[in-house]
Symmetry: C2
Subunit: 234 residues, 2 copies
DNA sequence: GGTCGTATGATTGTCAACAATCCGAGGAGT
DNA sequence: ACTCCTCGGATTGTTGACAATCATACGACC
């Protein structure tokens, strides 16, 4: 009779606060190493310390915060080895998502969504807006995962994409100088869409791997997904 | 001067409780769908509801608990589609771990650890102890991930292995009847070790995928990693 | 001068009480 | 018999207060 209406299930306070904290960490409002003072944050969110602590525990279990007992919670700081760690994990997750899509998803619909993100990337490039470009880039990958329909891959990817943005912020200086390659980045994404449309799984996965490897080589010169983790693996 | 002594960093109460809750969910002491009454659990852990709630929020963010506001927290219940979801995610994670190992790990040392787990599997088989066999099986995969040295892969795998055990418990009936294939399972694991020792990445990854696919086909007859997710993908 | 001990302030960890919401039983009305 | 309303018990959500721990500044002592 009525169109399928889903159960209400309102969001818990901890979930809302956790989301805002994630956003703050991702955008750099809470830079790596920052201590999260409970009193101050609780006042800012206009809640007591209870719900705030619950939210922070979520981020601890996601690996975005590190806890030192009786000392406080700190935003994790990324070491060089984390670049490889993050991107190899992303590669695994996005590979799996792509496989699901090719093997049983609505490829054409997804390709359209992805194409929108790439269009935004090109737009951001034309307007010389690096922040918007990064945002569109991440949205591309987020959409790819989302479209796979896997709750678990989505949850993993969410954290990994936040950490990716943290990497980019931390290495912003060295990132800018390679900025001329933005055309190539757009092309890479377009080729991925093309392979998805064609249903060419081998090519799609290969392009994804190469895409991740490119990023690793840009962010951590001298290392590569194909040459294995750095000696000081985390 | 002194041998490298690491910072103390004691475990938080929430972390301890969270670990015990995970254990209880994994072993089936808290079956899927169970509501976690705060008063009762807090009394059992001999803490107040505060730390307990913090611990439970961790499990919510890991996806092991689902939260219904003003109603309570429940152990997730696994639907048929989750089998594919879990195993495809596991496949991705373990693939990535295996790649790291082949490309930059101490293959021989790891192979030894894995061989121990397989030996325990064979032992459990001889004594007709299915619980011990499952435990050894999971320890094999846990060790594989652990040896990869990736914090992120390890975190993902921890949750996935718990969910794997939940699947096995839920489908225990249909699992037992295929029990004659235990030799084959041991052999599969041994072949994986062999490929790892040889450093044959392509073979290693292929064996891992096949291993996961076998499990999917056993647990959810008619579906396969290679044929794509079921229509009602979660 | 340098090191150790001590006190002080601030922060985190924990708890018990209060408020808000949900669920079920019971009864009135049709 | 069925529906709706209401009420009571139980559970969750939130808060402020208290205890424990940590970091820093200051002063005593060698």
């Amino acid at each position: 009779m009525l169109p399928d209406l889903e159960p209400v299930n309102r969001e818990s306070t901890a979930a809302i606060i956790a989301r805002q904290l994630r956003e703050a960490i991702m955008t750099g409002s809470l830079p790596p190493g920052t201590q999260l003072g409970e009193t101050e944050l609780a006042a800012r969110f206009e809640v007591s310390r209870g719900p705030l602590r619950e939210a922070m525990q979520r981020l601890v279990s996601e690996g975005l915060l590190r806890s030192e007992r009786h000392r406080g919670l700190f935003v994790i700081d990324l070491e060089p080895a984390d670049v490889y760690d993050i991107y190899s994990a992303r590669c695994a997750v996005e590979r799996a998502a792509a496989m699901r899509l090719v093997r049983g998803g609505d490829r054409e619909r997804v390709a359209g969504i992805l194409a929108d993100a790439v269009k935004d990337m090109a737009e951001a490039d034309k307007q010389d807006d690096p922040a918007a470009l990064t945002e569109a880039d991440l949205r591309f990958h987020e959409a790819l995962i989302e479209a796979s329909g896997s709750r678990r891959l989505a949850r993993m990817a969410r954290t990994l994409l936040i950490e990716t943005r943290m990497c980019l912020s931390a290495l912003q200086g060295t990132y800018r100088k390679d900025y001329q390659d933005v055309d190539e980045r757009v092309t890479e994404h377009n080729r991925i869409i093309q392979a998805l449309r064609a249903g060419d799984e081998a090519k799609l996965l290969g392009l994804l791997e190469a895409h991740m490897d490119d990023a690793v080589q840009r962010l951590a010169p001298g290392t590569s997904l194909y040459s294995g983790p750095a000696p000081a693996a985390s």
